[in-house]
Amino acid sequence: MITAIAWKNVWRNKTRSLIVISAVAIGVFAGVFTMAAINSSIIQRIDAAVNEELSHIQVNNKDFRSSNDIQNIIKDFPSVMSALRSITGVKDVTGRIIIKGIVSTSAKSTGVEINGINVEKEKKIFTLEKKLIPGTGSYFNEKSKYNTVFIGEKLAKELNIIRYIISPEALSALKNEKIPAAVISKLEPLYDQRFTSDKKFSKAFQNFLTPKEFIKYGMKIKEAAWSYREGSKIILSFLDMNNMQTGAAFRVAGIFRTNNDMFETVSLFVPIEELRTLTGMKEGTFHRAIALLDNNELTNEITPKIRAALPEYEVLNWKEIQPDLAMIADFMEQIYGIFMGIILLALAFGIVNTMLMAVLERTKELGMLMAIGMNRRKIFSMIMLESVFLSIVGGFAGMIISAVVIGITGKTGINLVKYSEGMEAFGYTAHLFPAIDVPFFITTTILIVLTGIFSSIYPARKALKLNPVEAIRTE
């Protein structure tokens, strides 16, 4: 009966209740959706870091990272590999040769990290192969008589391997993309001009378009004008095992695109045999052993085991290699707590206010209920249930809206193209796919119910303090 009365009381003043419920729903939606968007960005970043750049655990010679000396190899690589393989939870392992060097073209030179990789092994551990930009070659799939290298798009742009040209092919691509002819014709002054960077090209065609057209068609124009010269040649220079300057020309086998500009600029990959030949590093010598685990959750558990098994080496997991990323991931829970705390606190004040008004309006009725024998516990329960109902209805409405919006945007994505340059500079994707897990929904639901209970305490105490004789006399 108390539950039924409380539920009916919620709908006594429909407008007021609907306003509170809407506020709760909007607050919950804002909180959940924002968290889902941030969460997805961080998850995507961690996935990218683990699957494309670092894997879960790396083992190096203790002096390797500080000196970058080619001599600092893993001395007993087969033992390291078998130690890694023997640990439960380690899914696969591989080794790399890593050399600091300089890459140059006729346009530019820049410092890079040259990774000598076992191509077939790497395919099982990293997903970089899938990041190949279509039309730029392959991930070392085609046999070549030349040395070959797999480089990032950002580096390719810096080296002038990628450029932007509004060529006849680009124009037909734009037509296929259904860009209005009026917009295409505005680009006429730029036909066949060569732009060496994204920035320069954007700046050039922005002058011919309206701001609206630039936002709407800018990305498509850039994609269409993006041009790559197949089999471009670059020169890699580095020190060999005898600390002698060496180097060779490499053909670009393929270009990869990730969301991490820094990684794209600095890291390039060559088949390990090519690097052995050039450096004089013997078969079976490596600078780094890399371990992929069954899942990311095992990282903290397995790292100390590997450390114990390989005390003479430096063992680092991805969180230690990129502490900023690990900190953000750990910090997420706290951000969530603070963020939802603020939202729920605001909601709590709204509910307290509404319930205080309800108690004030119903002073006479509460006095009557006390007079005819409704005890304090039941009065308290009734007020508390009303608050909880308000929170739950609003909370569930917010959750449903969140689930629907996250469901849709999780598939279509949210394209923050405006901020892509800044986000990708830090390794974050500008195309977010909001995602949230079930425990998050459960935790949020519990927090909403608790907010309802918490919000009811003050109004319910006010109600309990009423003197029935005086309350009944209230007009």
Binding site: I5, W11, K364, E365, I372, G373
Partner: protein, 228 residues
């Protein structure tokens, strides 16, 4: 059989340092099935005495015994429970629960007392029939007239078969016809259910129907007239 015993009861309010003797040494008894009314001018202490009888307020001194139980000896929670089981209230402004139907209002006290549904339904049906509002069982108070609401309030007061019903000016807000109907119903229920009714009133129609008229002045009983 004595249902209520009031022994030398005083209620003194100490507002703004001037003592107000709202009830000033009242001693009274009420028997089972009495139909009594307390009359007197405004400020004579009628409502205060009714509040003391209903356990809504406690006397400054003296004793009020209901079926031998001293109300002032009961703890707050026990007093609420005692009220629920033994005392029915009818208020001047009806005070029904607006979100409940007539039927739900009548069965409310029985629900609080955890009556089983079958008995609750039966008793509610009986009472709605007695007050002539069976056909309005599913109406909410806002859809009923003042007279009808007060009849539902009477049915609610009687629902759990209390020892007595306190009615504070129950006809004050009713038109003549509604007041007469209500009084007839209360008279009938008093007779059928053998429940004591105690009114505080200014209404001569109530006084006319009462079997006993107690007159208060300045918090004291100045007359106690029993009619045959």
């Amino acid at each position: 059989m004595k249902v209520i015993e009031i022994k030398e009861v005083y209620k003194i309010y100490n507002e703004t340092e001037i003592e107000v003797h709202a009830v000033n040494g009242v001693t009274l008894d009420f028997q089972e099935a009495e139909f009594a009314t307390i009359v007197g001018p405004s400020g004579s202490g009628k409502t205060t005495l009714l509040n003391l009888l209903g356990g809504l307020d406690l006397p400054t001194s003296g004793q009020i015994l209901i079926d031998g139980v001293d109300l002032s000896k009961l703890k707050s929670s026990a007093l609420i429970d005692f009220r629920m089981k033994n005392i029915g209230f009818v208020f001047q402004a009806y005070n029904l629960i607006p979100v409940l139907t007539a039927k739900e209002n009548v069965e409310f006290i029985m629900s609080l007392q955890k009556w089983i549904k079958k008995e609750r339904d039966q008793r509610t049906f009986e009472l709605l029939k007695s007050v002539g509002l069976s056909e309005r069982a599913n109406s909410r108070p806002a859809k009923m007239s003042g007279g009808q609401q007060q009849r539902i309030a009477v049915a609610r007061a009687l629902a759990s078969r209390p020892k007595f019903v306190l009615a504070d000016e129950p006809t004050a807000n009713l038109d003549s016809k509604s007041a007469t109907t209500l009084l007839e119903i209360m008279g009938k229920l008093n007779h059928e259910e053998k429940i004591t009714f105690i009114f505080s009133t200014h209404d001569p129609r109530v006084v006319k129907m009462a079997h006993r008229v107690i007159t208060l002045e300045d918090g004291k009983v100045v007359s106690d007239e029993v009619r045959e």
